[in-house]
Symmetry: D2
Subunit: 115 residues, 4 copies
């Protein structure tokens, strides 16, 4: 068992107690932190895909919390989905994209069969 499992993850961070209903400035701050982390990440409508060694993914999300606190949020809550597997190697940086591709291939077969 590797001592630092490769993690394919996704997280959604919410600043609490800011007095403003917009969270975009805080999420932008997270994106800047992730840019510096060197990890593969990609924002979507309700969170951000991220992957890498577990400890680095965890550290990157921790640093997002620290940056959002520094920007004025007294409290921050995050939901993280994180997965690991030992049945096969995950191509580094391609774990999340690979999952999407697999599903799209199956759906493409549907369309091919229907046409």
């Amino acid at each position: 068992m590797p001592s630092d499992l490769y993690a394919v993850a996704d997280f959604c961070l919410i600043p609490i107690g800011t007095g403003e209903s917009s969270v975009a400035e805080y999420i932008a701050e997270c994106q800047r932190v992730l840019e510096k982390s060197g990890l593969t990440f990609k924002m979507h409508g309700y969170g951000t895909n991220i992957e890498g060694p577990w400890s680095e993914v965890s550290q990157a999300i921790h640093d997002c919390h620290a940056a959002v606190h520094a920007k004025g949020a007294p409290r921050v809550a995050t939901d993280i989905r994180i997965g690991t597997r030992v049945d096969r190697d995950t191509p580094v940086g391609d774990g999340n994209d690979h999952k999407v591709k697999r599903v799209e291939e199956i759906l493409a077969r549907d369309r091919a069969a229907a046409s």
Copy 2:
């Protein structure tokens, strides 16, 4: 207060007890269910963005569970992130994309300022 709040959501469904580590066939089945729901949705690496009236979003995810059970999974667990707001109207079908655009605009200003 509307009796059926507009919900901007994201969910990640996991089949349990299938005896196979791949979940792609089950996720593809969900995508077929969502296609029929008529709601706006978009798959990403660790879940699927979806939005619409709360009751319809909930029903669509319920129907994904039913379809994944019908496909053989004895047990299904899903993580749902769901948000509502009453400070302004969410353009129907554009709630998740709008959030991404707002963050990207802020990051684009960073790049403009840096150049």
Copy 3:
């Protein structure tokens, strides 16, 4: 397949844009809503266990959002974990407790074996 699967769930609701870092008053408001729902629920340190027919669990959480908006939160975000199973019946109102008991029985065997 039942048209309304029995759901064993847990949710954590977060008010956004309130200007106060404490969320206790909003969570208390949710507990009042759940009390009226007639469903089995139990608060813990980072959310609330709840179970019942899927549509009723969903409606109860929707009504928590509506109540928290009415109390002044412009935006509300919730993380829901929800599970269904078709391999056996879940005793109504005992789904979450049953899972805890099963794990505790296993751990009790550890202690019996060690003593």
Copy 4:
């Protein structure tokens, strides 16, 4: 900003690809791992409350994944809720319980006012 924020968290781990719908043996294995971590934790019906320095909470959940893989699960997916705050100190080991107490005090006032 502390370099290792104090984290109040909750997680729900799911083994994938095990061929059995019961997850109790895997969750029991996690509880054994957490026992060794020295952190404050408490299982409930849909997850486990846990708290401590962010890096230690993250490591404990990582080690649960490793243990569940070692027990035979080819793939493991976890949902983590994690919160930090900088407006006041969290009493070590009392973050989750403190939140419950605050809500229960408010609800007790309801009952006192009603009687």
